[in-house]
Symmetry: C4
Subunit: 216 residues, 4 copies
C-alpha cells in the first residue's frame, strides 16, 4: 500500500505550492531568452525600431509559450481540484511532468531564434506533446488508484483522456507540416483553442456532475 495524503494535509498543499512555483518560474524565465538588442547609436529611433523588428519571432515565442504553459497550469489546477488525495506515485509522476514544463523555455528560445527552421518546430511540438501525454498519464493514474473525490463513469473517464490527448495529436501532426511551412505548423497550434471550446460542449451526460460536482 502506497502512502496517501488527503487534500487538507500540509503535504498535499506542498505538492501544489511546489508545482505553482515551478510553473510561475518557467513562465517568467521565458523573458530572459529575449535579449535586449545591441545597436550602434542608442538614441536613433529607427535603428532601435529595426532591431526590435528583428526580435519579433522572440516576442511572439514568449507569448505563445506563456499561453501554452498557462493553459497547462489551468489544466493542472482543474485536475488537482478534482482529487480527494495524492499518493506517492502521483507525486512522482507530477515531478516527471514538471520536468518537461521546466524544459519548455529551451525550445521556446530555439523557436525565437530559428522560427523558419522546421527542426525548431519539431522540438517545440514534441516537448508540448510530451507534457500533454504526461497529463494523460497523471489522469489515468488518479483514475486507477481511486484518488478522485467522486468516482468517474467510464464515459467521463474516456472523455477526460480524449481532452488531454487532443493537444498531443495537434502538436505531433504539426511536425510534418513544418517541413513544408513553419508558419502553417504554428497556425495549427491555434487550432487547439476552438477544439478545446468544442470539447467543452461535447461532454457526455453527467460529466459536469462527476468532474466538477454540481453545487460544489
Amino acid at each position: 500500500m502506497q502512502r496517501t495524503y488527503g487534500r487538507d494535509r500540509v503535504e498535499f498543499g506542498r505538492v501544489l505550492a511546489f508545482s505553482d512555483g515551478l510553473f510561475a518560474i518557467a513562465m517568467t524565465l521565458l523573458i530572459v531568452a529575449v535579449g535586449v538588442p545591441d545597436i550602434a547609436d542608442g538614441d536613433d529611433i529607427s535603428d532601435l525600431a529595426d532591431a526590435l523588428n528583428d526580435l519579433k519571432p522572440e516576442l511572439i515565442s514568449f507569448f505563445i509559450s506563456f499561453a501554452v504553459i498557462g493553459r497547462y497550469w489551468l489544466a493542472h489546477h482543474q485536475f488537482f481540484s478534482l482529487l480527494e488525495k495524492a499518493d506517492q506515485g502521483l507525486i512522482g509522476l507530477n515531478l516527471v511532468y514538471l520536468a518537461f514544463v521546466a524544459f519548455l523555455p529551451f525550445p521556446t528560445a530555439l523557436l525565437g531564434d530559428y522560427f523558419e527552421n522546421p527542426l525548431s518546430i519539431t522540438i517545440y511540438a514534441t516537448n508540448v506533446a510530451t507534457v500533454s501525454g504526461l497529463e494523460v498519464v497523471l489522469f489515468r493514474h488518479a483514475y486507477r488508484r481511486g484518488l478522485f473525490r467522486r468516482p468517474l463513469t467510464p464515459d467521463v473517464y474516456r472523455y477526460g483522456t480524449l481532452m488531454s490527448l487532443s493537444p498531443v495529436l495537434i502538436f505531433l501532426s504539426s511536425i510534418p507540416v513544418a517541413f513544408a511551412s513553419t508558419t502553417a505548423a504554428a497556425l495549427m497550434w491555434l487550432l487547439g483553442i476552438p477544439l478545446g471550446i468544442l470539447g467543452q460542449r461535447w461532454k457526455p451526460g453527467g460529466a459536469d456532475g462527476q468532474l466538477y460536482g454540481v453545487g460544489d
Copy 2:
C-alpha cells in the same frame, strides 16, 4: 454556469500562490538585466566608479520597475481581498494580466540600455498601460459576475474603475512627451504617486464600507 471557487478553497489559494510567485520572480529577475561591468584594471577604484556611473540608467530602471510591479502586487493583493470567490473567467483573465507583468523585465532592460531613446519609453509605457488596462478588465469582470464579498454601488464601481484607469492615461500621455524629452516623460510617471494619494481622498461616500468593509 461557470465553476467558481470560494476564498476558503485550496483552488482560490493556488491562484494567489501562483500570482505571488510570478510577481516575486518578475521583480527579482529585473536585477539579472543589470550586468556587472567589464573593466580593464579590476583593482582601480576610479575605473570601477566610471563603469558603475555608466550603469546609472540600468540601476534607476531596476528601482522604477520594482516600484511599478510592487504597486501592481499591492493592487492585486487589495483586489483579491475584496473577492468572495473566483470563477474560471477571472482565473483566465488573471493569467493574461500576469503575462504582461512577466513581460515587464524586457522593457525595463530596454529602458536601462536606451534611456534616451523615445522608443524605449514608448514600449515601457505601453506595457505598463496594458497592465493597468487589464486591471480594469479584472475589476469589471468581478463586478458583473458578482464575485465581490459585498455588492458595490455604481458610484463605488465607477470610482474603482477610474483609479485603475488613471495610470493608463498617465503612461499613454507620456509617450508623445518622450519624443521631446525622455526625462520629462519618466518624470510624468512619478505623477502617479500624488494622484494616487489624492484619489484616496476623493472616495465617494460609502466607498470604504463597500470596498473594505468597516470593522472587517
Copy 3:
C-alpha cells in the same frame, strides 16, 4: 530552550513554502545554462541538428540534475511530513542544506560543458554527497530534539540514517572512477535507483508504522 513551531503554525508553513520555492527555482534555473546554439544559416536543418547534437551533454545534465533535485525534494517532503514541529536549529540547518541545493545549477552547467573532464564529475559528486550528508544531519537533529510525530526506535533511526547515507557513498566512490572513465562514473549514479528500491524492501519491522503511521 529553543523556540519551536508546531506543524499547524504559519511559521512551520513558511519554512516549507520557502524551501519549495527554492527547490522549484533551482530546478527551473537548470535550463538557463543550456544556451541556444549560434549557427550561421538559421534555416538549414542539418546545421541546427549538428548544433543540437553538440548540446547533448547539456541536455542530459539538465535531466540528471532535475531528477537529483527532484529526488531531494521528495525526501524533504517525506521528512517534513514526519515532523510534529520545527525548532530554530532545524530551520537554520535547513538553510545550510538549501544553500547546497541552490548551488547545484553550477556543477550541472560545468558537467554540461565539460562532461569528459573528471574534475566536473568530482565537483558534481561532491556537491550531491554534501546535500545527502546534510540530509543525515537534519534527520539526526530531529531525532535528538524529539521533533518527530512518533518516537522512532533505534532500529528505525539507523535505517533512516543509512538510507540518506547511501547516496553519499555512491557519489563519493564515483569520484576515483571518473578519472578512469567519466561515463562509468555517471552510470554509477544510476545505481542509486535500484538501491533505493531495495532499501524500501529491507525496512526493519515496524518502520512503516513508525515512519509513516499506518492508517495515517
Copy 4:
C-alpha cells in the same frame, strides 16, 4: 484608520508567501552570476582546475550572500511570527525592504568579479546596511501601530532595535577598512556572528516572554 489584516487572513499569508518567494529567488539567482569558465582544452584537468581557482572569489561571494540573505529571511520569519496583524503601511515598507533584498545579487556579482576593489566592498556593505536599517524601520512601525501579538516594554523594544542596528554599524564601519584591505573588511562581516550570539544572551529580563511568548 489604515486597513489591517489578521494573521489568520489569506491576505496576511500572501504577504509572507510573496516575501518567501522573493527571498528564495534572490538566494537562488546568486548562482547565475557564477559563470562556467571557458577553457581551451575541455578534457584537461589542470586547465579546468586553474579556471575554477580563478572563480574562487565568485564562489565565496555566493556563500557569503546566501548566508546574509538567509539570515535576513530568518529575521523576517521571526519578526512576522511576533505580529498579530499587518497594516497597509507595513506591507508597503516590506516591499521597500524586499527591493533591497532583491538588489543584493548585483553587489554580490560585483564582489565576485572585483573582490580586491574597495568600491565593491563599499557598495555591498551599503546595500546590506540598508536592508538592516529597513528592518529597524519595520520593527518600529509595528511597535508604534501596535501590531505585535503582545505589547513590548520599552526595554524590549530598545533591545530589538539594537539587535537590528548592529549589522548596520558593522557593515558601515567596514567601508573605511576596505580602503586599507578588502580582506580585512570582509572578515569584519564575520564579526556579526559572535555578536549575534552574545546579543541573544544580553536580552533584558522578560524579553523572551514578550518577544516569543513562553509556552507558545
